[in-house]
Amino acid sequence: MLSFLKYRVLQVVALCVAIFGLMGAGDDARFNAVGHKLMCVCGCNQILLECNHVGCTYSDRMRNELSAALSRGDSDDLATQAFVQKYGAIVLAAPTGTGFNRLAWITPFAALFIGLASVVLVVRTWRNRPGAPAATLPATPAAALEHFREEARKETDL
């Protein structure tokens, strides 16, 4: 019963987040959002809405095209696809999440998780490695003690 309630609460929270997220996403917000996912293709390597070249033969036209697409009720995906059809995949500011391009997104996170897992594994292996039995250790001579003190000083910077 308790877990069912938890599940329901989570569902409600998720719904609220979605509603809040979508609320107020008018045409201006959509224009801004989609325009920031597209590149200007004049060669300036800038996001479409950030291209500020005077006399740029592309950015004004592309912005007008985007504005027109959103005004006539095209969805974000449809408007974006129209740009890809016209200007090629290079117009998208980031790789898509499909096919080979998916690799672009997966690889950095895979590297992070593999790295984290490796560190955890190495530390655990080293920690579980048996050390020399204490009884066989000889008494520490004065010189060695001084060495350890020096090491401790070094480690604590006192």
Partner: protein, 673 residues
């Protein structure tokens, strides 16, 4: 003058070759003449500096004399170019910047060779390696990208002029800083490879390498952020970092250099990660060279890239030689790099450094991956894709947040292992402060569930508070111990504490600077912009500001023509300032450039761009950006630089503690460095 420059470059190459070959001979000979031969090699290295300096001066003089018989001067200068930019012409083109690189390398070499008495044998090895790198760059400027190449045919009356984007005061400082960082990584590389080649006994080489790395890292930090500030002030798109491939190229060695500056502590204090550190330094240097390859080969497209040329192949060959040399010495002498201790616990200072290194390297890999993915995509699927800011932001922001969390946790952990109880005790106040700030921000209207950028902004600010409180608590706890035993007030004690262990507390100041920068970056989640055509008396509102166009006009100067608007700014009805956004047309290069008008405050920047005249109405189009917290970024960088300088200062003599003091002090210092 061009003949003198050409001769100097050839002379410098000959001297470098001698320094390299005689240096190697001296290192492997064991007779009485070896030292004398080594000394001649060192002196040849010193003389290289003077020869390269002469060549650089010859090029600058040619620029000041408007000697357009030199092709480089024709392409990068003109008669009406202001004097400061004639000087900057030295690094504004392919050939000149390679000469500038050679010059800086020779200057670093001079300092290294003059300080050879610190450890003659190690410095002799480093000098030879440095000479090897110097030879490569001198070969380039002598045979592949000659800065003194002459114009063919009729001599032109005037030059093409400097790229307008480079005609900005910061461009006189930004490239030298960046190059000082890039080139500077050659020195730690030379020491590291030298120490490995000679199987250096003891820790001295790592201390020397760390100090050089800190200096270089400081320069690169300044260079990167000056570049960001330049982009913000000149490019006029309202931002400071667009993940341009060339900017990415400078970020990669910075990330690995930062990783090295952290993990080197484990080698110094615990004799661990020796192989890792060695390869970090190698990788940092190789990434500097790789970045230069990216900038100059035309492999990736960028607004900053130099013209596409054949020198990319030279860099690839050089990279292969470096990798081969590093691998050879590593395989031969890897037994010398055995770790003295092992990691004992996941909750320890050592582990935090390892995780910190891992995250920094993942960030570096992500930048490299994103920069090269278009090339990879074209190669594999035949379609070029764009990897722009949305990709880098989405991937790197979570990584940066993880790094911030570790920056907060690291100083609270003790060497070897930390008890959960101790961690809870030290962590509770910073965690509470971070949570409190998060709640306050939500209460004041920040809605993290609305957009991912708002969520990331909230997380960044909370984690920044976590780091800041950790840093302050470290200062206060240490300061209180000193105050108790010396009778000084808390602030003097904290100053004394920092002076006693400059590296540790300088590092904390750098961390605090990073926090301030991160808060500034988080502000970008709330950027606003508006664009409007403004005639006489027309108004535009953005945020609390009202912009009124008082007038717009034109001007004609010897170097450029300009159009600009006079905008009166008021806030909540109260007059605040008059701003002058401008657009220039440079006559020599026939190119446009933006002169942004920016009113910067601690809270936000009001950033106005003159977009141009509407051809139909002849009225100016003004784009206004309201960018919160941008000033924090520049202030944060300043704090980072101050922290780096403090970290480089020598420690003051330790305070003599009373018999009972070490116990209490040890408790305070439990977390260690």
């Amino acid at each position: 003058m061009p003949q003198l420059g050409s001769f100097s470059l050839l002379l410098a190459l000959a001297l470098s070759l001698y320094c390299f070959l005689a240096g190697i001979l001296a290192l492997f000979r064991h007779d009485a003449n070896a030292d004398r031969l080594g000394e001649t090699a060192r002196r040849a290295g010193v003389a290289t500096f003077f020869a390269v300096t002469l060549a650089a001066l010859a090029l600058v003089t040619a620029a000041f004399q408007n000697d357009f018989s030199v092709a480089y001067i024709f392409h990068h200068s003109n008669r009406d170019l202001p004097a400061a930019y004639k000087f900057a012409a030295l690094w504004s083109g392919q050939e000149g910047s390679l000469l500038f690189w050679s010059f800086l390398l020779a200057a670093y070499g001079l300092v290294l060779r003059l300080r050879h008495k610190v450890d003659p044998r190690l410095f002799a090895y480093a000098s030879v390696i440095l000479a090897g790198v110097q030879i490569f760059f001198l070969l380039l400027v002598n045979f592949a990208a000659h800065p003194f190449a002459m114009m063919q045919g009729t001599l032109p009356d005037d030059g093409n002029g400097l790229n307008p984007l480079l005609q900005y005061p910061e461009m006189v400082i930004h490239p030298p800083m960046l190059y000082l960082g890039y080139v500077g990584f050659t020195v730690p590389f030379a020491f590291a490879l030298g120490a490995l080649a000679m199987r250096y006994h003891g820790d001295k080489w790592i201390h020397i390498t760390r100090r050089w790395t800190m200096v270089t890292w400081g320069f690169l930090t300044c260079g990167i952020f000056l570049g960001a500030h330049w982009a913000y002030s000149v490019l006029g798109w309202g931002g400071y970092w667009a993940w341009d491939p060339v900017k990415n190229a400078s970020l990669m060695p910075w990330l690995t250099g930062t990783a090295f500056l952290h993990s080197v502590m484990m080698q110094e204090k615990r004799g661990m990660l020796k192989v890792w550190n060695m390869w970090l330094i190698f990788a940092t240097f190789m990434l500097s060279i790789f970045g230069t390859f990216l900038t100059r080969s035309g492999v990736v497209s960028s607004v900053h890239a130099f013209a596409q040329s054949s020198i990319g192949t030279w860099f690839l060959v050089f990279l292969a030689i470096i990798l081969a040399a590093c691998t050879f010495f590593f395989v031969r002498n890897r037994s010398h790099l055995k770790s003295e201790h092992k990691l004992e616990s996941l909750v320890s200072r050592e582990s935090s450094f390892v995780f910190n290194n891992l995250i920094l390297l993942v960030a570096c890999f992500t930048v490299l991956w994103g920069t090269l993915f278009p090339v990879l995509s074209e190669w594999i699927q035949g379609t070029k894709v764009t990897v722009g800011p949305p990709f880098f932001n989405r991937v790197n922001i979570p990584v940066a947040l993880l790094l911030l969390l570790l920056t907060a946790l690291g100083p609270l952990l003790a060497w070897r292992r930390t008890s959960i109880e101790s961690l809870r005790r030290n962590f509770s106040i910073p965690a509470f402060a971070a949570l409190a700030v998060g709640v306050l921000l939500i209460a004041f209207g920040l809605r993290p569930w609305r957009t991912p950028s708002a969520f990331y902004a909230l997380m960044t600010i909370c984690l920044s508070v976590l780091v800041a409180v950790t840093v302050f608590s470290e200062f206060i706890r240490g300061g209180l111990v000193i105050a108790r035993h010396t009778g000084q007030n808390l602030f003097s004690s904290m100053g004394h504490l920092a002076h006693r262990n400059t590296r540790r507390y300088g590092g904390y100041i750098v961390h605090f600077g990073v926090v301030v920068v991160m808060i500034g970056l988080a502000g970008s989640a709330f950027n606003q912009d508006r664009e409007k055509e403004l005639g006489y008396g027309d108004q535009m509102n953005i945020g609390d500001y009202t912009l009124t166009c008082r007038s717009y006009t034109q001007d004609d100067r010897p170097n450029y023509r300009s159009e600009w608007a006079i905008i009166d700014v008021s806030k909540n009805g109260k007059p605040l300032a008059t701003m002058f956004p401008e657009r220039r047309f440079y006559k020599a290069s026939q190119q446009m450039a933006t002169m942004v008008a920016n009113r910067s405050t601690v809270k936000e920047d009001l950033y106005l761009v003159y977009e141009g005249l509407n051809q139909d109405t002849a009225r100016p189009i003004i784009k206004a950006h309201l960018n919160p917290l941008v000033m924090w970024i520049w202030v944060g960088v300043l704090i980072m630089v101050i922290g780096t300088v403090i970290g480089l200062l020598p420690n003051a003599a330790p305070v003599r503690l009373t018999a009972s003091a070490p116990v209490r002090a040890a408790a305070v210092m439990e977390a260690g460095d």
